[in-house]
């Protein structure tokens, strides 16, 4: 993914994201403990783990929405403190969809395209609606959409500015088989175009088709990390059965 023409001049670019010994606490509760990872351009990294494992916290830290309590995240040569220039190259699809239900799909996409200083927000929204297969419902309020349709709009919102780093937290929630397959294809396209894609998911079958590298989290700690695991479900069950002192960092 080369620098898209609509990126503001101040947008930073990078080809690798490195998380180094990152921990995050909320009060006395430690949500993440000494997590390290590295994701490069043209790679899909999966973050797998049960509920409460720290996946969403890790995504929020990568998105610069949370600061690590200890450790650091580097985006190429840049730190998270780079601010707006860095945020211009990050796209996030959260567990919540970040859409205004009273606005139409087109209005939501135009609004976020405008905030990201996309050169022509109207054309960008039209193209995004077409990719989402929602051209016919473009002027309907998002509140009238099914969960799967909202998810498709939310994905396009996250990608409307051509981000280098794409962060997805449970992106398959609410999608039917066809939509989930379309999303898998879209994420592969993003990878092939040079994006760094990080996916936190529970859906092991879809993850198996998609991931280039996998980080397993348990109780906020890295339980294992491996490239392209075959038989992901079996590996996942093995990793989650291990005692914490057997965990492979």
């Amino acid at each position: 993914m080369s620098q898209p023409p609509h990126q503001p001049a101040s947008a930073l670019d990078f080809s690798v994201v490195a998380v180094d010994e990152v921990s995050r606490s909320f009060g006395r509760r430690r949500a993440l403990s000494r997590v390290s990872l590295r994701a490069s351009q043209g790679e899909i990294l999966g973050v797998l783990g049960p509920n409460g494992a720290g996946k969403s916290t890790l995504i929020a830290i990568l998105a610069t929405l949370l600061r690590p309590t200890t450790g650091q995240v580097r985006y190429g040569d840049a730190a998270a403190s780079e601010g707006a220039g860095l945020r211009a190259r990050i796209g996030v699809l959260g567990h919540d969809l970040f859409l205004y239900p009273e606005l139409t799909a087109r209005e939501n996409l135009e609004f976020f395209a405008g905030l990201h200083a996309v050169g022509d927000p109207v054309a960008a929204a039209d193209a995004a609606l077409s990719r989402a297969g929602l051209g016919a419902r473009a002027d309907d309020p998002v509140s009238s959409f099914s969960r799967g349709m909202r998810q498709r709009v939310a994905l396009e919102r996250a990608l409307i500015h051509g981000p280098r780093l794409v962060l997805l937290d449970e992106p398959f929630t609410g999608l039917d088989d066809a939509s989930a397959s379309a999303l898998v294809a879209r994420l592969r396209q993003l990878r092939d175009a040079g994006a760094i894609v990080v996916v936190a998911t529970h859906d092991l079958e879809l993850a198996e088709q998609l991931l280039d590298h996998t980080l397993f989290l348990r109780d906020g700690r890295p339980a294992a990390s491996m490239p392209r695991p075959d038989r992901l479900r079996a590996v996942y069950q093995d990793v989650m059965r291990q005692r914490p002192d057997e965990a492979q960092p």
């Binding site: 929405l65 996030v92 959260g94 205004y100 135009e110 976020f112």
Partner: protein, 237 residues
Amino acid sequence: MSTERRGHAAGSPFARSVWLVLRKDLTVEVRSGEIAYTTLFFAASCVLIFAFALVKEGRAPEGGAAGILWIAILFAATLALGRGFERERQSETLRALLLAPVPRPAIYVGKLLGIVALLVAIEAVLLPLVAFLFTARLFAHPFWLAGIVLTCTVGLASVGTLFAAMLVRARSRDMLLPVLLYPIVVPVIIAGVQGTAALLQPTVEIALVRFWLLLLVTFDVVFVVLALWTFEAVMSD
């Protein structure tokens, strides 16, 4: 938001972001009417109840109109501020705003202008209602009245917008907002009440009105500068 619009607003990134956030808030409000209707109903009920209780044989207590006007506006503002940010919390759209590569104080200014616009619309209904029910000569000096009302509204909204944003993830935000807001805006409310009361005197002392107006302008400048300075920090994490 018109679908016929092409391109995005010209100008600096700051001004463009303010305009986008403001236009989005106004579009959502025009479409849902949720905050405007509930706030207006609440404020008008407040004024009506005071009028029934205090106005006897067509005569209102001296200074009552100014006090009741600003009680109604203060309560309406509290309601509007809480609901305005509740909307951003429900779909976590505040996170999406914070993720955008825009100066974060621009988000504050956009939200502030949206709240001010909403309160001005409510005041446009409340002022004639209070003037009628309390037989108050509120519109004898319309420009001075507009100055007092606008500066007092900006003062209330500038502090309230900052606190409402700070509290958006607090579980007891509905209780905490007035607890934090009211002590800080006491000087603004006093200036608003005194300035309005001065305008209702049989012989209006313009120097006195000007004094309260200047005081309100000073509060506004101080509060807005402080809020712009602190917004980025309070919204981080």
